[in-house]
Amino acid sequence: MPKKYGLVVDITKCNGCYNCFLACRDEYCGNDYPGYSAAQPYSGHFWMRIIEKERGQYPKVKVAYTAIPCMQCEKPTCIDAASNKAVYKRPDGIVIIDPEKAVGQKEIVSACPYRVIYWNEEKNLPQKCTFCAHLLDQGWKVPRCVEACPTGALVFGDLNDPNSEISKIMANAKVEVLHPEYGLEPKVHYIGLPKRFIAGEVVFKDKKDECAEGVKVTLTGNGTTKTVNTDNYGDFEFEGLEADKDYAVVLEHKGYATKKIKVKTKIDVYLGEIVLSKAIAKRS
């Protein structure tokens, strides 16, 4: 079976070191690879772009880094936008913008909904990541970005080989693509794409110097129900929630009045200190 190259980006292993971005710059800035790509300008292009997403509010904060190269779509819209067959897909699935034929075709840039094609003003040319096709063709096993990644957050390989590392990861982990609704069948897959979280700290009004451990916290909404207990710091967290949905958080503890809080996951939400008061004894 012919090779079909793909990339898995494991966001849970990425700390935003930018080695991938910089190795990409080193490979392409000022360097022409005839037939594959013309030199990238020394600034302004991000063929391997990193989106830094700061999540939550002080003191519950996380950062997710999402590395975004060309998605190497199976059904690339850039091909349709190009005239003169200036964009083509190789048998191994890599999408190439021909650096000669594509001159002047600015519409190729706007054809990409992922916004990973950059316009080279000086050369009058659309440009993007090629998975380092010029190196793969020389026998390299991985592109520059993958070689430079220190944590194994980028895994590259042949999707058609069931024994390749990437195929095994794809088979065993929950992988997603960016914007599946575009229907372009990207060959860049993600593990751990940031969703939304709802977190908070429970405090007992009568025992503010003790962390409220073991409080039952139930999240309902968007068709699911999840229950956790607060940890030894009185903290709880629901991770991986859908954006822009309505949820309710119910906090229950024996002897304390139950509390219900409505939350919309417009952003990641840290509810701060949630104070539970003693339940008022019912009159007999």
């Binding site: 292993k13 990425c14 700390n15 935003g16 070191c17 930018y18 080695n19 971005f21 910089l22 190795a23 710059r25 080193d26 490979e27 800035c29 000022g30 360097n31 020394y42 600034s43 991000f46 830094e52 700061e54 939550g56 509010q57 002080y58 003191p59 519950k60 904060v61 996380k62 950062v63 880094y65 520059r144 070689e147 430079a148 220190p150 944590t151 194994g152 405090v203 503010k208 110097d209 003790e210 962390c211 451990e213 030894n232 710091y233 009185g234 903290d235």
Partner: protein, 840 residues
């Protein structure tokens, strides 16, 4: 034209350099033959952990091509336009303001040699001084302690002690608690990766951001260890006023004490353990002294104030209940305490009385049985399995310095006794005499840091000529407008700057000499091995690799190698024979270093020279000797910590303190400085002179923290590698200029009318700098975070001290006051400021 591939090394790791038509076209992490890499495996918690068969470098190393070809290279020898060596009036007030003219190498060298001669003859050799910056390149023969120091030793000069700027609190504090003076107060790191993965249940990173500090020189090698730590089910907790890069990605909990109040939080943890009886009493009895006095202090028997979590909450702002829970969890789990990259670094000790926090950190782990499996002090980026039998010197070893190495036929001592201290250099010029204690990097003994010094020495000249190699201090020292003023003093009759790039200090020189980078010359060095006080720092790498740093391209423009420049100067000054050790070329030195190392036993010179590297294999029967396990078990030291003076003696089971134990009450301080209230024999929480509760906070309510940068190294790379400036965490482009990124909490930005991306002014009575604001939840309210180490210094009014700096040298704002009276370390994180929107 054909492509050639060379090998070299950087502060962020070894590289393969691809050259075509005399130009560098590609820089990769060193490409090593897979057969040369034999990865070790650590089995822990039912999993197997093994490193990739590849070298992993730091991000800035991926910009090496940019850095070498930087537009900011010094291209030609230059002379300040209004500097006339024949005139008595040197127009020193124009330093930092006047432009430069290009001159020939001959003219430049004649002026420099002529001035050295004149000054030595007029005032004596004491009048000559000079100092290097650190780590602008990597190597042995051409490193900062190479040609520059050998040349200066040949002449004799007033040597300037570096302050241990990254060690401070552990150097001036913890040495008196657990010895380790040979490591400047930091602990040994041996085999703690394996010990942590196997035995620890929690790591508390206290003022430590290993994803940002790159194991110092080990690039990306240890980054994966923290992924493994998570996979091994070990909880990772962070204490830092900034939700740092490691905490933000891998942290299970983040606690943010107010800057400078960490000691109070730590004492409250000890209080909980004392109350709960959850500390190792047997260990305290057998392995420590002075605990009772500490116990009395913590319980409030000494000063009437019990150091309860409620007491600490009022000071540090972390809720008492959280401190209590952390203390209980810590006592119930095998916990690693991780203070900075060497186990003893961190911004929490680069501030007022930082030695108190550093000492109390050791106390906490002593209370939990330091040295027990899973109970260590470990920075998290050293301590992999490492072949320590194989010898190759690092730059901090005696053999690593050209003036005193065994690679030389003749060693050259400095005949001059007079000394200066880097942090006090501006005061020495502007307001002598000066006094201080200690030799800076005091790795020889506990007493070395207590020795009093005076400048100038009686009957000796003050310094008149400054030979500056590098350009970093305005971006790295404290209250650095003082450096601007010192440079403009007529007392400095002549200033030379020798460097590869223009930087903050370059424009204060009378003559500028262009040096080349290590990709333009020959050298030899080991990945991440500094030696000496950082012995076996190469254990921050997954493989031990010695690199033949090959000359990849000819020196650019008119630059020359440092060795070449000093050879030409030494010839003019009649010391060439000594400087070159009887006529050695750079390649002769490289071969000599090959010969004095263990390399010849394993590889021929010809093969090494051609192949470009040697991977030192791990012995088949490698035996793990975890740090301080010997001490815990009461055995003789069995780690390869070769500078430990008690090792292999009858006291080999002892620590390096006077008592040989962990000293809650320091015997060395009791003996030498018993009445020092700022660094008493037993550490205490001492409120900062400039912190959240000091009167100045009314005028300047925000606390500036300025850690070592993440994406650059010291001042290196930075704007010399403009790609880095397109990383938003490093610099932000606005109105045609790359401004320093300044992190501010929304609750501090909003009342000041500051919006995301605004240019803001950071200021206090010591200066003002500009930066672009990033509004973020990652900083504690009241804290402003901006990395130190701007290479550029771009005053709006050039040459005017206290001009606003556009480049972001936040070190202008920090105080020159030292850690404490007798502990002359820098305290840049004790710094109150105000910010406001800057209207252009």
């Amino acid at each position: 034209m054909s492509e050639k591939v060379f090998t070299s090394c950087t502060v962020g790791g070894p590289i393969s350099v691809y050259v075509k038509d005399g130009k560098i076209v590609r820089v990769r992490p060193l490409v090593v033959d897979e057969n040369d890499l034999k990865p070790w495996t650590i089995e822990a918690k039912g999993k197997k952990f093994s490193p990739p068969k590849q070298v992993k470098t730091a991000p800035f190393t991926m910009t090496e091509r940019m850095k070498v070809n930087s537009e900011e290279r010094i291209k030609y020898p230059m002379k300040r336009i209004d500097f006339d060596p024949k005139s008595k009036d040197r127009r020193t007030e124009n330093r930092g303001k006047s432009g430069y003219v290009r001159i020939s190498w001959d003219e430049a060298l004649d002026i420099v040699a002529g001035e050295i001669k004149r000054i030595r003859e007029t005032y004596g050799p004491e009048a000559l001084t000079g100092i290097t910056s650190s780590h602008h390149n990597w190597g042995t023969v051409g490193y900062k302690l190479g040609p520059f120091m050998r040349f200066m030793h040949c002449l004799g000069f007033t040597f300037i002690f570096d302050n241990p700027d990254s060690w401070e609190g552990f150097h001036w504090g913890s040495i008196h608690t657990w010895g380790f003076f040979w490591r400047l107060g930091c602990p040994e790191p041996y085999d703690l990766l394996e010990d942590t993965l196997k035995n620890a249940e929690m790591v508390v990173y206290w003022s430590n951001d290993p994803f940002a500090t790159w194991g110092t020189y080990s690039g990306g090698e240890s980054q994966i260890w923290r992924i493994w730590t998570r996979e091994a089910g070990i909880k990772q907790v962070f204490i830092d006023p900034f939700c740092n890069y490691t905490a933000a990605v891998i942290g299970d909990k983040w606690f943010a004490p107010k800057v400078g109040t960490d000691s109070a939080m730590a004492l409250a943890i000890a209080y909980v353990w004392l109350k709960d009886d959850s500390y190792d009493k047997k260990y305290i009895d057998t392995h420590t002294i002075g605990f009772d006095q500490f116990k009395q202090y913590v319980l409030g028997k000494e000063d009437g104030i019990p150091k309860t979590p409620q007491w600490a909450e009022k000071i540090c702002g972390v809720p008492a209940r959280k401190i209590t829970s952390l203390a209980k969890e810590w006592a119930s789990k095998r916990t690693v305490l991780s203070c900075g990259v060497r186990g003893g670094f961190g911004g929490a000790m680069r501030l007022a009385y930082g030695h108190e926090w550093s000492r109390i950190m050791v106390f906490l782990q002593a209370m939990q049985g330091l040295g027990k499996p899973g109970v260590s002090m470990w920075g998290g980026s050293m301590g992999a399995p490492h072949n320590t039998d194989f010898y190759f010197p690092g730059y901090a070893d005696a053999d690593g310095k050209l003036f005193c190495t065994n690679a030389a036929d003749k060693k050259i001592p400095n005949p001059v006794d007079q000394r200066l201290y880097r942090l006090l250099f501006p005061d020495a010029i502007l307001n002598p005499p000066i006094e201080w204690r200690g030799e800076g990097f005091c790795g020889q003994s506990i007493e070395q840091q207590l020795k009093p010094y005076k400048y100038p020495l009686p009957g000796k000249s003050e310094v008149k000529m400054f030979y500056r190699y590098g350009s970093s201090f305005i971006g790295t020292m404290t209250e650095t407008n003082r450096w601007v003023m010192a440079y403009q003093s007529p007392k400095l009759e002549f200033v030379v700057n020798q460097d590869c790039w223009w930087g903050g200090e370059t424009k204060f020189a009378d003559i500028i000499l262009p040096a080349c980078t290590n990709l333009e010359r020959d050298d030899i060095a080991e990945f991440s091995n500094a030696g000496g006080y950082s012995a076996h720092g190469g254990s921050g790498c997954n493989y031990r690799i010695i690199v033949r740093e090959q000359k990849c391209i000819e020196p650019l423009y008119e630059s020359k190698t440092d060795y070449g420049i000093f050879t030409l100067l030494s010839e003019r000054l009649g010391v060439k024979e000594d400087f070159t050790d009887g006529g050695k070329t750079e390649m002769d030195w490289v071969k000599r270093y090959f010969e004095i190392s263990s390399l010849p036993k394993h590889i021929s010179w010809e093969e090494f020279n051609k192949k470009g590297y040697y991977v030192v294999p791990l012995p088949e029967n490698y035996k793990s000797t975890p740090a301080l396990r010997w001490f815990y078990e009461g055995r003789a030291c069995d780690t390869p910590d070769y500078l430990n003076p008690k090792r292999n003696t009858e006291k080999a089971h002892e620590l390096g303190t006077y008592s040989g134990k962990i000293e809650f009450v320091s015997q060395s301080l009791t003996k030498h400085l018993p009445d020092d209230k700022e660094r008493p024999p037993m550490p205490r929480y001492i409120p900062s002179w400039e912190g959240p509760d000091s009167p100045l906070a009314k005028k300047y309510p925000l606390q500036l923290m300025s850690p070592h940068p993440r994406y650059s190294f010291h001042t290196h790379y930075d704007t010399h590698s403009p790609w880095l400036c397109e990383i938003p965490g490093h610099r932000i482009f606005k109105n045609g200029y790359y401004y320093q990124t300044v992190r501010v909490h929304p609750s501090d930005a909003e009342p000041r009318g500051i919006n995301e991306g605004d240019i803001i002014k950071l200021y206090n009575d010591r200066g003002a700098v500009l930066g672009v604001v990033h509004i973020t939840e990652r900083v504690k309210p009241g804290v402003v975070h901006s990395y130190c180490s701007s290479i550029r210094y771009d005053p709006l009014e050039p040459g005017k001290p206290y001009s606003i700096d556009k480049a972001g040298c936040v070190n202008m704002l920090s105080s020159a006051r030292m850690l404490s009276k007798n502990a002359p370390g820098m305290a840049p994180n004790s710094c109150l400021i105000e910010i406001e929107k800057w209207e252009v």
